[in-house]
């Protein structure tokens, strides 16, 4: 499981244990192996799982926009009050799915969350931003994306792993949710960054100025 998503699952389970949420549903989009990931979430305390079957070429082209369409459709179908996801996946590093999901649903979003608390019918989210920490209050239903310091995920216990076997994982196709998967992106090329060229040493400031003038930089 993507480490940030693990943090998201942990937060969801903690909210349920504090009786602030009724049910935790773990969702994964992809081929058969996704069921393993969902089982891990169930072993951590999620109540049930939904596996959105996407395989082959469709899976290769699956990007944040497609996933967020699926998440938005499921959030409406399940009448969710909160969608909590990892801030980004460690393979793509896109950091887009949570934000796009919120936009598609027209829900408020609390991204890069390092703390989440329920206040009345909304959430107070502390966000990690470049300048430090920002606290915002958002109404529910909302989308939250989990950052590294939100919590430390629990280990699944042996009894919980066994109980997870009995929990249900429903299988669903994107078409059933009315989601079309064609990607509007086409990867043209993937290249390594150019090899760094070695520089030139100069003896004095005058030399440096002369060289910069000669190369047209000055």
């Amino acid at each position: 499981m993507n480490p940030f998503c693990e943090i998201a699952v942990e937060e969801a389970v903690r909210l349920k244990e504090k009786k602030l949420m009724k049910e935790v549903i773990a969702v994964s989009c992809g081929p058969q192996q996704c069921q393993e990931t969902i089982r891990t979430a169930l072993a951590m305390g999620a109540d049930r799982g939904i596996h959105v079957e996407v395989s082959g070429k469709d899976y290769e082209n699956l990007g944040p926009l497609q996933v967020s369409k699926i998440m938005a459709a499921l959030a409406k179908k399940e009448e969710a009050s909160l969608v909590i996801v990892g801030k980004q996946a460690i393979d793509g590093d896109c950091n887009q799915t949570g934000q796009m999901t919120a936009a598609l649903l027209d829900w408020p979003q609390g991204t890069f969350a390092s703390q989440v608390s329920v206040e009345g019918d909304g959430l107070k989210v502390e966000r990690e931003i470049d300048g430090g920490l920002e606290s915002i209050r958002i109404k529910m239903p909302a989308v939250v994306t989990a950052d590294l310091r939100l919590n430390e995920p629990r280990y699944a216990t042996l009894p919980n792993i066994m109980k997870a076997k009995k929990k249900k994982i429903a299988s669903v196709k994107p078409a059933d949710l009315g989601v079309e998967l064609t990607s509007r992106l086409e990867i043209l090329a993937v290249e390594d960054p150019p090899q760094r060229q070695s520089g030139v040493k100069v003896e004095s400031v005058q030399d440096l100025v002369t060289k910069l003038r000669d190369s047209g930089t000055l």
């Binding site: 693990e6 943090i7 903690r14 244990e17 280990y155 216990t157 009894p159 792993i161 997870a164 076997k165």
Partner: protein, 417 residues
């Protein structure tokens, strides 16, 4: 740590064990396991889940400390209790007694994974598990209720007391006596090399209630604090330093008859049945050490350069690494097969357990030793983990039945009429 206070109680609502701070970030950079020696190959989904928890726990909670536990001879009670909260305190004890009710194969997989974090601590946990199982299997309802829940949570720790100064391999010749006097026994004698002794709470003791030989031996549970129960000095060992080893001394130690597991004369059978599983567990610990050592060797060969190229380009070392991997997988197959045989109660189970213990402990020691050699001079430094794996698993060829005794068991089976 915020949850330290809750570790001792088994609260039903929402008690969980978090990873130690700051280590989740490391997982983001975790490498994939090398494919042909991947220990998850051939396992069921559920077994892979168990193994994953054990590997995670080993990497986060044990591996960072294994060197200091060894150097400072620390018995890591808090870490073991954390492990118990995940269900590792009584892996094959029945759930109604607080155990996890898993199979012998599940247990082997778990100990193999935990061992990659610290062999010595995992080996102690396996001994503790063995004692909890013995009480769960041979104890009365009352005894099971009295001991098993607290052992499974590791609120209390256990020790297995069979060996004496005068009887190691010849275990049935033990001399510690237990003289019946009404509603109690009076114990006199001493046990040697007892893992955990002095720091543990519950002692499963094999002692002589009847005549000579195996049939005169019974099994008594003795609790710490019982008058007449004393301990020798803490032994200084080459490895297994995260668990204390001491002699256990009985001087007119009074133990209630209600503490006897099973019938008089059944003690040796109980001890041996415990050891069948114990041997698989110890062999599994060797597997974990060998697995970790192969990965360490592999990484070192890729990084270390001599004669202008990485060591991994040397055909000799490539072949050596291949042999190590092959012998590791062969050992693993034997141990897992023995675990299956034991849980299915097959006729060859006892012999297979002995064969697996013999084979795996010998092979895995050779693997760890070869890995140390591949590290060159660095392998001999305590800054590098490989020497601790070598030192820790060396004793696996000796305890829970020496590998010589394993040969006795196998040859006896072959030569029987």
């Amino acid at each position: 740590m915020a949850f330290a206070g809750r570790l001792l109680t088994r609260s039903r609502l929402g008690s969980y064990v978090c990873r130690t701070r700051g280590l989740t970030a490391n997982r983001i950079h975790r490498r994939h396991v090398v494919s042909c020696i991947d220990p998850s190959l051939g396992l069921t989904e559920e077994q892979k889940e168990f193994q994953k928890v054990a590997f995670d726990f080993a990497a986060n909670e044990m591996a960072p400390h294994m060197a200091v536990w060894d150097e400072k001879e620390i018995f890591p009670v808090d870490t073991m209790r954390k492990a118990a909260q995940l269900g590792f305190g009584g892996i094959y004890v029945q759930p109604e007694m607080g155990g996890s009710g898993l199979s012998r194969l599940d247990t082997s997989i778990i100990f193999e994974a935990l061992s990659t974090g610290c062999v010595s601590t995992t080996a102690y946990i396996s001994i503790h598990n063995m004692c909890a199982w013995m009480i769960d299997t041979f104890g009365s309802e009352e005894q099971r209720h009295r001991y098993c829940p607290q052992l499974c949570s590791m609120e209390k720790f256990a020790s297995y007391c069979l060996t004496e100064p005068g009887s190691g391999s010849d275990a049935a010749s033990l001399l510690t006596t237990a003289k019946r006097d009404g509603d109690h026994y009076v114990l006199n004698g001493s046990k040697a090399f007892i893992s955990g002794a002095g720091d543990t709470d519950v002692y499963v003791v094999m002692c002589r209630t009847g005549g000579k030989g195996a049939k005169g031996i019974s099994c008594l549970v003795v609790e710490k604090g019982t008058p007449g129960l004393g301990f020798g000095k803490k032994e200084r060992k080459v490895g297994w330093n995260s668990q204390p080893t001491r002699a256990v001394i009985f001087e007119d130690c009074v133990v209630p008859v209600a503490n006897r597991l099973g019938e008089e004369g059944q003690g040796f059978t109980i001890a041996m049945k415990g050891l069948n599983g114990g041997r698989i567990n110890i062999a599994s610990c060797s597997l974990g050490a060998a697995h970790a050592s192969v990965l360490l060797a592999r990484d070192h060969l890729k990084v270390r350069k001599q004669f202008g190229e990485a060591l991994s380009n040397s055909q000799f070392l490539q072949f050596k690494l291949a042999e190590m991997a092959t012998r590791l997988v062969a050992s693993r197959l034997m141990v897992r097969q023995a675990a299956l045989a034991l849980q299915e109660d097959r006729l060859d189970a006892v012999t297979l357990c002995s064969m697996a213990k013999l084979f795996a402990t010998d092979e895995c020691f050779a693997i760890c030793n070869q890995s140390l050699q591949m590290h060159g001079g660095y392998g001999y430094l305590k800054d590098y983990a490989v020497q601790q794996f070598v030192r820790d698993i060396r004793v696996h060829q000796i305890l829970e039945g020496t590998n010589e005794v394993m040969r006795m068991i196998v040859s006896r089976n072959l030569l029987q009429e």
